[in-house]
């Protein structure tokens, strides 16, 4: 039996209760305005994140564990992701204050954000395939609805249908993989599955590989790895822009959490040379994402391709994981950084779209004068995404590429990952800089200042402080990421 006082259960109870109560309030009070629901959701998320922070600071939780006898484990790995996901959810919620004004069903919107964030948090905490799958679905199903939430907008609906079809396919593939893993080992607990995998005879090995391949494919859909990425730009462009922030910064990172829990451990147990394949995928993913991003004229679409590219960067850390502890640490750090950066960028885009109703890059000329704070936030986050030195993106990229070069002693091809990453970063600076140039250095039709939404300003200020602050003083986060890395060398001694 699980301890009902553990962090994930308390988070589930808190956010779930608020998420269920919100629509009921809307039925009873018949209130059309959205601020009440946004306030409640914001309060719940703040309570949740402060609870997690309290647990971490008071050192009540155990260090990163690989598996437990329960479906959930209360460890630092989960807490790290919980912090990241909850930050993204809070940014989305605050960013939606303005976006949702006057739209229908605000209570359902915020309730679904809360439920989806429970799913994202629980994925990181789960140590059982059933729990992982169920949490995966709790993350997916609300986001299907959220992506299609603008019912009058054809593009939102199209985005949602594509997202739904690929998401449902990915969950189908995942459950097929789970079924094979269960069939081979007779258990659904990840620890039992791994130890069962390591005891398999050679005749069962192809099946185990099939299962791991299905996991990679299934999670890869959500992460946006290259052969499975075709739905992603459409969905990010079409869905409400705040929701695109949630998808890009939240669900994608939850996919990485699931991948870290399942794929890496599973493949280590199988003791196969899978790292090269992941490295290839990483290079292709980042190259495709960045090359496609250059050609985009639409701000959100460009950010979507950029997030594909960043999936490639994060994958570098995963591909060198078994030989370098620092690789996973760097991946975790970049996951947190990228979550904040991308969420900030998308919410800035949402602010631009709601106030000026433009998303084409040519239309945002002279934005620096019209919306100074939003464009400052967008600039900072874009520079951080590109990895410009004093910002947080620089440190995490540095750690990623550095670990790749470090791993060159074991894997001779690993430094090429770093080379590809640096080249791609340079490439990305081109289109990020293009946007910055449009905003600040080109003459537009008007340079009259427009009133910026307060909620967007709040998010921007928070993200500027976060990005610059971590860029200046990254040590505590790096320490935290270090403590969240599971001890993989202990794992490889199973067999």
């Amino acid at each position: 039996m699980i301890d009902f006082a553990s962090t994930p259960i308390i988070l589930t109870m808190l956010l779930g209760a608020v998420g269920v109560i919100l629509p009921i309030i809307s039925i009873i009070r018949k209130e059309r305005g959205s601020s009440l629901y946004a306030g409640i959701a914001f309060g719940a998320l703040i309570a949740a994140i402060s609870f997690v922070a309290y647990q971490i600071l008071s050192k009540h939780i155990m260090p990163a564990a690989i598996f437990s006898k329960n479906v959930l484990v209360d460890d630092t790995f989960g807490a790290f992701f919980a912090i990241a996901m909850l930050i993204v959810s809070i940014m989305t919620t605050v960013g939606s204050f303005n976006y949702m004004r006057g739209k229908s069903n605000p209570a359902v919107y915020y309730s679904l954000i809360l439920l989806a964030s429970i799913g994202m948090v629980l994925i990181a905490y789960s140590t059982d395939l059933v729990m992982l799958f169920v949490a995966w679905e709790l993350m997916s199903i609300p986001t299907y609805v959220l992506a299609g939430f603008m019912k009058k907008d054809p593009s939102s609906n199209e985005a949602a249908i594509k997202y739904f079809l690929f998401g449902a396919l990915s969950s189908g593939i995942i459950i097929y993989g789970i079924s094979i893993a269960y069939g081979l080992t007779g258990s659904t607990n990840i620890g039992d599955v791994i130890s069962g995998f390591s005891k398999l005879g050679p005749d069962m090995m192809p099946l185990a590989l099939l299962a791991v391949g299905m996991f990679i494919a299934g999670f890869g859909f959500k992460i946006g790895l290259v052969p499975f990425h075709m739905w992603l730009p459409d969905t990010y462009e079409g869905s409400p822009t705040t929701i695109a922030a949630l998808l890009a910064a939240g669900t994608k990172k939850a996919g990485f959490a699931a991948a870290l829990r399942v794929i890496i451990m599973g493949t280590i147990a199988l003791n196969i040379d899978w790292a090269f394949a992941l490295g290839i995928i990483a290079i292709i993913t980042m190259t495709v994402g960045n090359l496609a991003a250059i050609m985009q004229k639409n701000l959100t679409r460009m950010l979507a391709y950029s997030s594909i590219g960043h999936a490639g960067y994060i994958l570098i850390g995963l591909s060198i994981a078994p030989f370098s502890q620092i690789g996973i640490q760097a991946s975790l750090f970049h996951i947190l950084n990228h979550a904040v950066m991308k969420a900030a960028a998308f919410i800035a885009a949402a602010g631009i779209i709601t106030t000026l109703a433009v998303s084409h890059i040519d239309k945002i000329r002279c934005l620096g004068k019209r919306m100074p704070i939003t464009s400052l936030g967008l600039t900072i986050s874009l520079l951080a995404l590109a990895g410009v030195p004093p910002l947080n993106g620089f440190w995490s990229k540095l750690m990623l590429f550095g670990s790749a070069i470090n791993a060159g002693s074991v894997m001779p091809w690993a430094p090429y990952l770093a080379v590809a990453g640096v080249l791609n970063s340079a490439l990305s600076l081109a289109y990020y800089g293009w946007i910055i140039r449009k905003m600040y250095f080109e003459e537009g039709e008007s340079d009259k200042r427009v009133k910026e939404p307060k909620s967007i300003i709040a998010v921007m200020i928070f993200s500027i402080i976060f990005i610059v602050g971590i860029g200046v003083y990254p040590d505590p986060i790096i320490e935290f990421a270090k403590s969240a890395v599971p001890n993989l060398s202990a794992l490889s001694t199973i067999h």
Binding site: F133, S155, E158, I161, G172, I178
Partner: protein
Amino acid sequence: MSNGLIDFVLVSVALLAIGIYGLAVKRNAIRMLFAIEMIVNSANLNLVAFARFIPNSQGQTLALFSIAIAAAEVAVGLALIIVAYRMYKNIDIADFRSLKG
């Protein structure tokens, strides 16, 4: 019982393949939903077959979860399809052309 485990697993693989075929070929949103249902069902069949032959109850439990989740997924998917139909008067996703890419 005279059927081996492998028979059931082979049927499940056939269903999986048919589902993938449907997803690859069909562009009608409801048909694609059918194909996804087939994939999920093939996984369920696998789970129950393994649970019968291992034997323990976890496979059946997971199958129950999977069935219920599929119901939730279908509800959301059909709602999206109905909204799409109201907008486009069509449910062929090849005809959804508001996003270029």
